[in-house]
């Protein structure tokens, strides 16, 4: 029973979160020099461009092995160096990521990134065909995955010209045939991309706004895990804040794909380039990515909202642990899948006490009971929603980490989004909302959410009827079904007039974020904000608390409706209207 459960109150959430964030900021500022500023951004925009840190040394250092970053920007704490070394060891070469560049009026087009040297001989690592940071093969519907057989027949040139057909040569793979990329992306990889060649772009610098919520027990944690996953794409679009990478304006507003691609430690076999010999299987996603499988509601709740068809993404899992969990321990299938999916990855480092054996009284009297070990494993693969196991040592329970929010510049905005997510989790639990989306659609949402100004321009798949479906039917309510027209149609509040009957039957519709959050009559969508607004009075808050809460939600609502632009748009406008900007996408 986690202790934190007894101390939560929505009043404190509304009033104190902002203060708490401001206190952190003040604390950090005490350590800064007078000419230093504290910016809470996802990634420093100029990291990798020109001079970006004090005492910047030369690139190609032994630790990072990066052509654009020098070792001096690596945090001297050992775990970062170990992690990066581990990624390099496992993958065999430095992972490359490409972010499509933004085409402005005077941008040199086709865009060639001059940061990386073109000489194939001197470069320790070839340019691997970038995945454009996109790590899932089941993302865009228009992406045609090139079958490996056909790609192998393509010319295996070693030029690093960005216009060449995508090829890559592994640095340390002695017997592997010349590989070729198996997934084309949109735009074609490495074409007009800003190239990043270090895991430091993903971890160790910058980050995300991560919200960890404590659930009462595993059942609740599973519900939250599943229902928050479809929301993650929407939140990424709402909080988009990273249009500038490595000193260039990019064609993406979010940092999610870059982070996922930068820490990609899959070997060539796992990426599908080399034939499978020692690896467990093809891994379609990097270890940071979107979830592969829903955990589904607990079997005891008899909640039929979840259907097997939602888990339509192929993924590899560790069969030994799966069967052990399922047969020996009796864990239900979905949870066993979810956990055994973790075991195809490797952790890169661990403190010695975790690895020590039991009974060594001199060094380590406490044997690791596996909890921290497992937590490290969970931390290895970071998804948009993480299910974190409890830890009896620290007294925490089952937790859900929500990872896809981008950090905003001001405390008020961060506090508003935190409040929104926490309120949303309360609403999901109280109303038992059903937001299930097939995983493939969720991945498509995530890909769309990162495009420029996705808040206003993009359509997202969303479940039309979030209250229904608990009885297994797509539009049912989980209750005694109504007979004919008795009762339901007699009332003033009848269902909104849907002209097309297929709108009523459609389980998923493509909506703009405004429609998702603020509701839409044409599709019969109760907006998420409306549900939250109807939930607030039932919490019986004090007047001032409620007003503060509503003011925070107002920010989210205005972002969704377009009245306020996202941070990414603000940055773009700032850059493009700056007198020194020469409209060539160089910042």
């Amino acid at each position: 029973e986690p202790q934190v459960l007894r101390t939560f109150s929505v009043a404190r959430l509304a009033l104190e979160i902002r203060e708490c964030l401001a206190a952190r900021r003040r604390l950090l500022k005490t350590q800064l020099r007078p000419d230093e500023m504290l910016l809470t951004v996802n990634q420093f925009p100029l990291l990798g461009a020109g001079t970006y840190v004090d005492d910047q040394g030369p690139p190609n250092g032994p630790l990072l092995r990066s052509q654009i970053l020098s070792d001096s920007c690596l945090n001297p704490a050992p775990q970062f160096a170990l992690e990066i070394q581990g990624i390099y060891d496992r993958r065999g070469l430095v992972p490359h990521t490409g972010v499509p560049a933004f085409r402005d009026t005077h941008t040199q087009w086709p865009f060639v990134d001059h940061g990386l040297s073109d000489d194939p001989g001197s470069a320790p690592a070839q340019l691997s065909c970038g995945e454009n940071g996109r790590d899932s093969a089941c993302s865009m519907a228009d992406a045609t995955p090139v079958p490996p057989a056909a790609a192998a027949a393509a010319a295996t040139t070693t030029e690093s010209d960005s216009q060449a057909p995508p090829t890559s040569a592994p640095q340390k793979g002695p017997s592997a045939p010349p590989p070729s990329r198996s997934a084309a992306a949109d735009p074609p990889p490495n074409k007009n991309c800003v190239l990043l060649d270090s895991p430091l772009f993903g971890i160790g610098s910058g980050g995300v706004l991560r919200i960890t919520m404590c659930a009462a027990d595993l059942d609740e944690a599973r519900i939250l895990h599943d229902q928050l996953a479809p929301i993650s794409a929407i939140m990424a679009a709402l909080t988009a804040a990273t249009p500038i990478v490595k000193g260039y304006l990019t064609d993406r507003d979010c940092y999610w794909d870059v982070q996922c691609g930068a820490v990609d430690d899959r070997t060539a076999q796992e990426r599908g380039i080399a034939p499978l010999t020692t690896a467990k299987g093809i891994l379609r996603k990097s270890r940071y990515g979107t979830i592969d499988t829903y955990t589904g509601p607990a079997v005891s709740t008899a909640d039929l909202a979840f259907r097997k068809q939602y888990n339509d993404c192929q993924f590899t899992y560790d069969k030994d642990s799966y069967w052990k969990m399922k047969e020996d321990v009796g864990i239900d299938q979905l949870l066993a899948l979810h956990v055994s999916r973790l075991f195809v990855r490797d952790i890169h480092y661990a403190p010695e006490r975790l690895l020590s054996k039991a009974g060594r009284k001199d060094k380590n009297p406490h044997r690791s009971d596996g909890q921290e070990h497992f937590k490290r494993f969970v931390g290895c693969s970071r998804q948009n929603v993480c299910l974190l196991p409890p830890n009896t040592a620290t007294g925490s329970g089952w937790e859900i980490g929500f990872m896809s929010l981008e950090v905003q510049l001001t405390d008020a905005e961060n506090a508003a989004f935190i409040t929104f997510i926490v309120l949303l989790s309360r609403v999901i639990l109280s109303y038992r909302l059903n937001l299930y989306l097939p995983i493939s659609l969720m991945d498509q949402n995530m890909a769309r959410a990162q495009k420029v100004n996705a808040v206003r321009d993009q359509l997202f798949y969303f479940r039309r009827d979030v209250f229904g479906g608990r009885d297994g039917k797509s539009n049912g309510s989980g209750r005694i079904s109504r007979r004919g027209n008795s009762g339901g149609s007699r009332h003033a509040t009848s269902q909104p007039a849907n002209n097309a009957s297929q709108l009523e039957k459609a389980e998923y519709v493509e909506l703009t974020i405004d429609e998702i959050l603020n509701g839409s009559k044409t599709y019969g969508v109760t907006g998420i904000m409306n549900i939250i607004y109807s939930y607030i009075p039932t919490m019986h808050l004090e007047y001032e608390v409620e007003q503060a809460l509503r003011r925070q939600l107002l920010l989210v609502r205005r972002r969704a409706s377009g009245k306020l632009c996202t941070l990414a748009m603000w940055m773009r406008n700032f850059v493009r209207s700056h007198p020194e900007y020469r409209h060539d996408s160089v910042v």
Partner: protein
């Protein structure tokens, strides 16, 4: 009548038919999607319709108690919603009781019997719980906040009340008064008869010294008197005393009142000696969705949707702060369940047919249409987790025996 009578029985007038309807748990029911809690009257109607449909039409799961002549329509989906306190978190029950215009006793004052009845029904639904917060909302007080037209209660009133009433805005009024019966001074006796029409409409009268008014109504000097009448909470005293008894005995932890102005609160305190623990003020939809207001709207909150109202609410909030009254907000409609709506529902689901046809009204009376007497909105929340587990409505309606001019006794004079 002694107090030992069953709580679910009324004194006078004799009410041959009673109906109590319990709605489903609105957190998990189908009705949530069609109405939000912001439009609580619509939500209530929808929930009522849903329950009546399920209980009367689809599956006929109601109970008729012939002794009390009461039709009890329990929650068809969760027959017993008793709270079992699990070890992890504490449930807190809040109840808001809407005393509708029809819930009056013979003196035309809101009757505390209905409050007891409501609490019994709540206990039936939820088990023997301590109610954490009990709000009581009087229809006259709430409805009188806006400049509304004549209340439907008065319109559908028995044939005994003469005249029509025009409600005016009690505070800083904009409409002048229409004197009803200028020859009647509002003494204590007469006031009780006129209460039924809504205490806002009054004739000429004396001004009570020392009672602060909101301001002068332009024109006639009735403004001061009107404020006096508006602020007079003496008709709610009985219920208020009952609430304070409940609080003293421990059944209810905190009591509150809805839509009261500062003057009304002062008056209540002066009359009864008990200060409410909470007061609920109404926050309009226009104040809630200040989406198109300028940034000033965001900073000031609700205070610029209606300037007059904003001042009043700020005044109230300061008063509450000074007296340690907790201020809550609600957006319930002023008229929660009108007689007409309920009668439409009753007709739709043919409630009256469930009663036995053998009942005979007393001599010279007829059975009137059913009127809803009170609506209770209960809310079971897990405060320290921010979740709401259970939320629903209970409605009680009954019909009066009224004088029937058509049924003349055969012992009357031959015409």
């Amino acid at each position: 009548m002694t107090r030992r009578r069953l709580a679910i029985t009324e004194k006078v007038p004799t009410t041959p038919r009673k109906v109590v309807v319990y709605t489903d748990n609105l957190m998990t029911s189908n009705g949530v999607r069609n109405a939000t809690a912001q439009e609580s009257d619509k939500e209530l109607e929808y929930a009522l319709g849903d329950t009546l449909n399920t209980a009367l039409v689809i599956s006929t799961s109601y109970r008729f108690d012939p002794e009390l002549n009461m039709l009890e329509i329990l929650d068809p989906h969760n027959p017993r919603n008793h709270i079992e306190v699990k070890g992890l978190t504490d449930y807190q029950v809040s109840v808001k009781l809407f005393i509708l215009p029809a819930a009056v006793d013979v003196n035309r004052r809101p009757s505390p019997l209905y409050v007891k009845q409501a609490l019994t029904c709540i206990r039936k639904q939820l088990g023997a719980v301590t109610i954490e917060e009990l709000f009581v909302s009087f229809a006259d007080v709430s409805a009188g906040r806006d400049s509304a037209t004549a209340p439907e209660a008065a319109a559908a009133a028995t044939a005994t009340s003469p005249g029509a009433a025009v409600l005016t805005n009690g505070s800083a009024g904009s409409l002048p008064l229409h004197p009803q019966e200028p020859d009647q001074l509002p003494t204590r006796r007469n006031r009780s008869r006129d209460d039924r029409r809504g205490h806002k409409a009054r004739g000429l009268g004396r001004r009570r010294p020392g009672e602060a008014g909101d301001g002068e109504v332009p024109g006639n000097g009735d403004g001061g008197n009107d404020d006096f009448e508006a602020n007079d909470m003496s008709r709610y005293l009985k219920i208020w005393r009952l609430l304070s008894h409940l609080k003293a005995e421990g059944h209810v932890t905190r009591i509150g009142i809805c839509d009261a102005t500062k003057q009304q609160l002062e008056n209540l305190h002066w009359l009864s000696g008990v200060m409410p623990d909470m007061v609920q003020i109404r926050v309009d939809d226009s104040q809630l969705s200040v989406d198109d207001e300028s940034a000033a709207g965001e900073a000031d909150g609700p205070s610029d949707a209606r300037a007059g109202d904003g001042d009043a609410s700020r005044e109230l909030r300061e008063y509450a702060l000074a007296h340690k009254i907790s201020v809550r907000s609600h957006s319930d409609a002023p008229k929660m369940l009108t007689n007409a709506n309920f009668q439409t529902l009753a007709a739709d689901y043919r409630i009256n047919e469930r009663f036995p046809t053998t009942e005979v009204p007393p001599e010279g009376y007829r059975i009137d249409l059913m009127r809803p007497r009170w609506v209770a909105n209960y809310n079971v929340a897990l405060r320290n987790r921010g979740l709401v587990a259970n939320r629903g409505y209970i409605v009680m309606a009954s019909s009066d025996c009224v004088l029937d001019p058509n049924r003349v006794s055969r012992f009357a004079y031959p015409s």
